[in-house]
Amino acid sequence: MQINQVNLVNPDTLPSLAELWLAGPVIEILIAALTVLLLDLFLKDEDKGALTWISVLGLATAGAMSLVLWPSGEGILFNSLRIDGFSLFFTNLLLAAAILTLLSSVHYLKETNIQKGEFHALILFSTFGMILMAMANDLILFFLALETMSIGVYVLTGMWHQRSAAGEAAMKYFLNGAFASGFLLYGIALIYGATGSTNLERIGDYLSQNPLQGNFLLITGAVLLLIGLAFKVAAVPFHFWAPDVYEGAPTPVTGFMAVAVKAAAFAGWIRIVMHQLSPLEDQLSFILWAIAILTMTVGNLLALTQSSVKRMLAYSSIAHAGYLLIGVIAGNDMGGSAVLFYMLVYTLMTLGAFGVLMALQQAGKDNDSYQAFAGIGFKHRFLALAMSIFMLSLAGFPPFGGFTGKFYLFRSAVESGHTVLSVIAVLNSVLSVAYYLRVIVMMYMQEGRGEAKPFRRSPYLYTAIAITALGILWLGVAPDFPLELSRISIASLR
């Protein structure tokens, strides 16, 4: 009887085929994920290499579809998804991150006995969640997508059974994540309470039509939402999970977390906080400001004295979240596009760096201390060169993408009058130079203690590293095209 009643719903309100077609890229990822899951059951162990190809193919197809299919500025499926340049940008960014992660993890998985089928499927599902986060035009959809992504990543973190740190990391991540989800959800509830809707556009309408001064319900909601997002990007003081989890997780997952999760969260940050909640800018700016400064300072300060490169990269990713927040604070279009551009650069730099860490992995164990890098500079030139590029780019040296990105971020901050913020960021950059260069010191200026055995030659991994390194160079030397892309993407939000 219930079912009949549902059927009574006016068919016109049901999504048309065209709309579903527009959702094709997202669905395509799901299809790929399910295919992988199914095939995993039937394939013999030695044939499981095919899974990588299927996943990559699926992701690439999704990307291609998105490029071909997506027009600009449409809301589909009851206006809960928005298809615009911004979605397009993040979709492809996230797909690229996923592809690179999969490519670089091929040998890692083999060495560590992590179940290949599930790993691929989970990466795909998480990517699906992330893309929805970037596209979501509805807070509840956003929350669900975020949970899809999170649960996928919790599991990925804990997948490596032999390593007890992985279980611990998963536990920490999960507890923190669930805790933060609670706050996020509470924030959504309050916003819903204040505005009567979870749809971003309707919230936007409400904000533009009603006085905001003293509307504490709304502000509290926004703040709690902010905290939830801050947790996801590992902003201080909601960052404590990050170093432990990044260190404990399998390296490919760490890279994926550091990049894709952060990117998706920033997508939400831009679409929700920067764009739809922009009328609240005055109320939120101080909090954002404080969080940004704390984030970069704490991230850089604590990265300084780490002895594990992996953990250093974890702190460095915290610091970078702080830099990215500068763009959010700037609040103008330039700030938004700076975040997008920097996100792109950051993705390449960080994935590349974690890729090199994976290459150093030995005999099923992570080999991520600074010592592991000692003396590889003139023995394994390609890896060392790539790592140098990543480190220099992370530190913000020209002519690498990291510099261009930072430049753009600072520029947006100065333009919007936040010169002090950018000065603090710059001082932080100086701090960061110390620990990034320490890796280079290890590689080129110190002798290895005979630990560095011949690394596994993994064509996939090396390809991924080469792609990221070249990408960084490209973004540093000829950034015009991606800059223009990021600018168009941000403009499409309006």
């Binding site: 536990m171 920490k172 507890l175 923190n176 805790f179 933060a180 706050f183 504490f216 502000i219 509290t220 703040v223 709690l224 902010l226 905290i227 947790f231 201080v236 003081p237 909601f238 404590f240 999970w241 170093p243 432990d244 109320q283 101080f286 909090i287 704490v298 300060l301 604590l302 300084l304 004295t305 701090l431 110390a434």
Partner: protein, 630 residues
């Protein structure tokens, strides 16, 4: 250099300069391929050419003509512009002849003196280089080019003092000479800057002597006083006056011909030359002139007293040089430029002769310089003895010698200038001069021979190549004086010769009678002093406090050491060892360390306990919410 002087261009001038430079360069480049003898002859010939050219000019230069040779623009930074340009007037010509003439003698002498030294080639290269810079100094037509020569001769002096570089005392002396000179040079530069900009304020942008001369009257007296004082401070360095004289005695560490050429005849007189060259400027600053006169006479007295107590044959002569330079500055101070230059001229001869004679003795004694270990050498050095005597007499102002006329003129000018006190001190100093000179003479050539037996067997008179220049210089020590006879005799050819440069010197009050009286007083004093020296080879006050003071050079070196050198090195040491590391660098490194320490500190928050993390999370939330509550 009257304003009416005719300017003539002559490209001859540059060759006077370039030939010695060429000699120096050739010798320098081929140091290792050339034997000493060829090098020496090459150097001497180069100088001879310069000398010849100078003579040529001397014969050709008519009264009131100034020769000019412009090579190229050197430094240009509008409105500042300085040319590489040479100028010869009569003053320059005198200097040219002194430098090339006396220089030639000393070169020839060096052939014998340095003939066996292994660094002979280098020596002659340096010597020629020195001549080049000295000629540049006197030929320069502007103040900056003069300064180039000024510093250049300092360099050569440095190189030559430290010629025997393997001995630390030599090179320390060389450094001292250069650095003390530099202090003066800096003052000189500052004076030059001041002059340039002050004139610039009046719209005149120049450092050319000719143009300066016609424009300096635009400046205020106060400014000129400051400028001239600074320039004079430069001169005290180069010409070894109080307070910067300390380097000259030490400079005697160089080879003796070098002492003769650089530290007696030419370089040290650069200060005199400079003031004479800029007499139009100094003339406008009576206060400066007074300072110069006082410093000059004090230096003369001071150095002379020290000379009476010294036992090193060359040091006596060195202090004597300082003292004589003091006389010259006294002359400058009382406005008697012509007399100053005249004394410079005669002094070049007899002091060079003295030094070379002393060198001859040292050479014969295989390097012994302590007069207490000499004595009775008359028979061993028959020629040197006589040249030494003649030059010594000239220095002491014995009648009819060169020194007699030139020194007398200074004394008379001082007196007639109205400064009786200055005259009196200068007069007394003349007595001291005769005393120390003949104390030295008697200690070296008379009395009992204290040379040890081993050495005595090898004592020999110097070869002709050394004694011939001695004799020529000795001759010069007598006849050059006759160029400047007093008014009451035949009048001074010298003053007439220099009239185009300095104008007519007006020597006012007094009169012939007083002049002759004063002259007699001087001669008498000198004679008495010589007698005293003959009686007691050492001063009667040996052992007394004044003697000890004089023997130890009034502890000036020590005083400077504790006043300037040691505080500075201590300060430098403190800067280098403590301040730079413990303050400046510590600040930088300390900051880094502080950051690192705080990194370790804050890392402790990351306990690994997940519930701590959650509490921090909560605390963050509470703060954020609290911000909106309050």
């Amino acid at each position: 250099m009257e304003s009416s002087a005719v300017m003539e261009s002559s490209s001859l001038l540059r060759w006077i300069l370039l030939v010695p430079l060429l000699g120096a360069v050739i010798n320098m480049i081929f140091t290792s391929y050339r034997d000493r003898k060829t090098a020496g002859w090459l150097a001497s010939i180069a100088l001879a050419v310069s000398f010849g050219l100078s003579l040529w000019i001397w014969f050709g230069l008519s009264s009131g003509t100034v020769l000019n040779d412009t090579l190229f623009t050197w430094i240009e930074s509008p409105p500042f512009k300085v040319k590489m340009s040479l100028l010869v007037d009569r003053l320059t010509l005198i200097m040219l002849l002194v430098i090339t003439g006396v220089g030639l003698m000393i070169h020839i002498y060096s052939l014998g003196y340095m003939g066996k030294d292994e660094g002979g080639v280098r020596y002659f290269a340096y010597l020629n280089l020195f001549i080049f810079f000295m000629l540049l100094l006197v030929l320069a037509d502007n103040l900056l080019l003069l300064f180039v020569g000024w510093e250049g001769v300092g360099l050569c002096s440095y190189l030559l003092i430290g010629f025997w570089y393997q001995d630390h005392t030599n090179t320390i002396a060389a450094n001292k000479a250069f650095i003390v000179n530099r202090i003066g040079d800096v003052c000189f530069l500052l004076g030059l800057f001041l002059l340039f900009w002050e004139l610039g304020l009046k719209g005149i942008w120049t450092l050319d002597f000719v143009e300066l001369k016609s424009h300096v009257h635009l400046l205020s007296t106060g400014r000129i006083t400051l400028i001239t004082l600074l320039l004079f401070a430069g001169a005290t360095g180069k010409s070894a006056q109080i307070p910067l004289f300390v380097w000259l005695p030490d400079a005697m560490q160089g080879p003796t011909p070098v002492s003769a050429l650089i530290h007696a005849a030419t370089m040290v007189t650069a200060g005199i030359y400079m003031t004479a060259r800029l007499h139009f400027l100094f003339a406008l600053a009576p206060a400066t002139l007074a300072v110069i006169a006082v410093i000059g006479v004090l230096t003369a007295l001071f150095a002379a007293t020290i000379a009476t107590a010294q036992n090193d044959i060359k040091r006596v002569l060195a202090y004597s040089t300082i003292s004589q330079l003091g006389y010259m500055f006294l002359a400058v101070g009382v406005g008697a430029y012509s007399a100053a230059v005249f004394h410079l001229f005669t002094h070049a001869f007899f002091k060079a002769c003295l030094f070379l004679s002393a060198g001859s003795v040292i050479h014969g004694l295989q390097g012994e310089q302590d007069m207490r270990k000499m004595g009775g050498l008359k028979s061993y050095f028959p020629k040197t003895y006589w040249t030494y005597l003649i030059a010594g007499l000239a220095l002491s102002g014995a009648p009819l010698t060169a020194g007699f006329f030139s020194k007398d003129q200074i004394l008379w000018q001082t007196f007639s200038h109205g400064s009786v006190l200055l005259w009196f001190v200068a007069w007394g100093t003349a007595g001291l001069t005769a005393f120390y000179m003949f104390r030295q003479f008697f200690m070296v050539f008379h009395g009992e021979c204290k040379v040890n037996d081993h050495l005595r067997a090898h004592i020999h008179e110097s070869p002709t190549v050394m004694t011939a220049p001695l004799m020529i210089l000795a001759l010069g020590s007598i006849v050059t004086g006759w160029l400047g006879l007093p008014e009451y005799l035949f009048g001074s050819a010298w003053d007439h010769w220099l009239e185009p440069v300095f104008g007519t010197q007006v020597n006012g009050h007094g009169g012939v009678l007083i002049e002759i009286l004063l002259m007699l007083l001087t001669v008498g004093l000198a004679a008495g002093a010589i007698y005293l020296a003959y009686r007691a080879y050492s001063p009667p006050w040996v052992g007394g406090l004044p003697y000890r003071l004089a023997l130890n050079k009034y502890y000036v070196d020590e005083v400077y050491d504790s006043l300037f050198v040691r505080p500075m090195t201590r300060l430098a040491d403190w800067f280098a060892q403590i301040f730079d590391m413990a303050v400046v660098d510590r600040f930088v490194n300390g900051l880094a360390a502080r950051v690192q320490a705080s990194s370790f500190f804050w890392r402790r928050l990351q306990t690994g306990n997940v519930q701590h993390y959650l509490l921090y999370f909560l605390a963050g939330t509470l703060f954020v919410l609290g911000y909106y509550l309050f």
